[in-house]
Symmetry: C2
């Protein structure tokens, strides 16, 4: 029997306990042994709940129990998760986490500690919820040089953009609706400003390049400035606006950005709607691939954590290497990123043409006193130079 | 240095040699050793081609060379591939193959031989070309009971259905076009009658249930009976017609079928167009997931074969278990499969209502002398009983 401990009995932690119970039999068959939850670490007591008998309040109870071989961290945030996870690895236990903040900031360090202790630190659930993406990146797409990785990795904002697009409602209304439905938090900043997506693309980029990418270095724009008028323009162009977290190989380096993009209907990410997530990967020999699924939610996320448990349980006392060195990678300046830009302005057609040269104008029925246009492909730096010559730029959205 | 041999220098075999060369450096980094092609087995001599010096005509040259540790089989067909692969495994070499016919028929047997010899038999490229699906199924979706697996796994027919839908052309014309473009073979039977898709869903179902599923047991219908009028009906209903290979858990068993289905716009497979493939998986805790990418083509397929090489090269002399026993699984009769059915008939509305009760009628502009309708959900057996009472059924397509 393999004994595990779960740190944090919130949505994900309780989901892990539930999945281990629902699929006890099939999991035991795959592992070749049964898995039992011995401890659940939480501040609360869960009086009267069946989990009560397993609750402990001190992480050292777990760290010091040699019977526990695998620990799940589902507390969220960097501290005290970092201290607890470190103690578990030091004590020779495998750790699986769903905590993107911890992985983005301390992933490389914890992986090195795991290597030194001949145990594992796994984090499939930290990006894309239930979607298998970490393991496919490190064990499936190994024949390729990854040229691009672009994700819809935040279900809250994708739900909001989908609602705005389908119902024509404005940002503030759709945010209230998302909060009422529990898709957005009371303080929605981390989601709507793109910080959550930034951590996730930092993790994915680190795995692709094998070095530490700091999320603070990634230029991040959210969706709070997107209006129903922008959506009308998007529809006229046959496009959808999606918050993308994207990272591209540029020479020997990588450039990364989180921002809303106008996607054409032919792009595989175009039809990823609602709370679903998807990660698009372009390999130099594979071409385009995409991994789609539930990016959040109790059971889907727990499914990914438990898949980590299964892999670690199948390989006891064996470190499975993941290349992610602590040495920091300096990202290529996102201003070298080339793309086309969609602009709304109250400047005249002549003024626009004088500044940008050849552009594609877009006219939307019922929208007056402004014009919309799409530039040729140019770097962000070039665009800024031109755009500064406009008298009044109402909006800019990048075009993919 | 790890020495490999490639059997068959056709599209896939030459693609493998090319990928190993293009990405030599990044692959060496991942494996921790360089990979060199020592032999290429082919009937031809490739006079003047750089590959000429590596060509051998006798597979025993490879089997008997202890320097070769990994062999790629890219010849296609069951024989002589089966004899050659068996000899390589017997000789203690790892084998990677892209050959669905071989895997569907002999997969379980070759896996057992590989296990006994403590080597590996891997076949990521046999389903979905470059799309990682075999490895995700066995090493990522391990927390779940897989309730359904449904794929667009044949690029030829998906290209044809997409063209028919976008251009309104008829089957015969689109087949000629696909043949001219090299997407369809001169004898297109295996693709258009669904046999290719049948082998692939047999492999996937075998992996899901861990037992042998014979493709001959899977009820298979192709797309040659689909007309441009059917496409018009589909569009009216906001649906697309796709050739699906699908397998569902029914009680403790599995039911599988290959047939054209009417897919609603909300289904993730709806927007998989052209030669792209995708595999949709429903887990009991994960929910819906989808893997999308290039289902065929030289480099994408070779990318999957080389990913197998990388995995095997990273774990020399170590058998990686894949649960797929030779014991045959009796499939649940597909006639127990429940779905809705779309029907075109020259019978009257009254006759239809008398036979089927409540149905949804569909009217298409410009189509007369017939009516279209969609039944309630019922088993295939029930449907057949009702349908036999129609005087003239022009068409039946299942609805997903």
């Amino acid at each position: 029997m393999i004994k595990v401990a779960v740190m944090g009995f919130g949505t994900i932690g309780s989901g892990v306990v539930e999945v281990l119970s629902i699929n006890k039999e099939s999991i035991a068959k795959r592992v070749g042994d049964t898995i039992e939850v011995k401890y659940v670490l939480d501040l609360r007591d869960f009086e009267g709940d069946p989990i009560q008998s397993k609750i402990v309040h001190d992480y050292k109870t777990i760290a010091e129990d040699p019977e526990v071989s695998i620990v799940v961290e589902a507390m969220g945030g960097v501290e005290p998760a970092y201290t607890f996870v470190k103690a578990m690895l030091e004590a020779g236990k495998d750790v699986a986490t769903s905590n993107k903040a911890l992985v983005a900031e301390k992933g490389a360090e914890l992986l090195e500690l795991a290597k030194n202790k001949n145990v594992n630190f796994q984090f499939e659930a930290s990006v894309g919820g239930g979607i298998p993406i970490i393991r496919p990146l490190k064990s499936c797409l190994t024949a390729d040089v990854i040229e691009e990785i672009t994700g819809i990795v935040n279900g809250t904002t994708n739900y909001m953009m989908t609602e705005m697009s389908e119902k024509g409602v404005d940002f503030d209304d759709v945010l209230k609706d998302a909060q009422a439905k529990g898709y957005a938090e009371k303080d929605p900043t981390a989601d709507i400003e793109g910080y959550d997506a930034g951590r996730k693309i930092a993790i994915l980029t680190s795995l692709v390049c094998g070095q530490q990418v700091d999320f603070e270095d990634i230029h991040t724009e959210g969706i709070s400035h997107i209006s129903s008028t922008d959506i009308k323009y998007a529809k006229t162009m046959g496009r959808a606006i999606k918050l993308l977290a994207t990272s591209k190989k540029v020479g020997n380096g990588y450039a990364a950005i989180v921002a809303p993009f106008l996607l054409q209907a032919e792009h595989p990410l175009y039809s990823v709607n609602g709370v679903f997530n998807a990660i698009f990967v372009k390999g130099n020999v594979l071409g385009d691939a995409m991994f789609y699924g539930s990016g959040a939610g109790k059971l889907p996320t727990a499914s990914a954590v438990v898949a980590d448990i299964v892999e670690m349980a199948k390989h006891p006392h064996k470190h499975i290497p993941i290349e992610w060195r602590q040495e920091k990678l300096e990202l290529v300046d996102y201003k070298d990123f080339e793309c086309r830009f969609f602009v709304r302005t109250s400047d005249s057609v002549d003024a626009v043409t004088n500044i940008f040269g050849q552009v594609d104008f877009v006219t939307v029925e019922g929208v007056s006193d402004e014009i919309g246009f799409v530039t040729e492909s140019m770097s962000e730096a070039e665009f800024e130079k031109y755009a500064s010559q406009l008298t009044n730029m109402i909006q800019m959205i990048r075009v993919k």
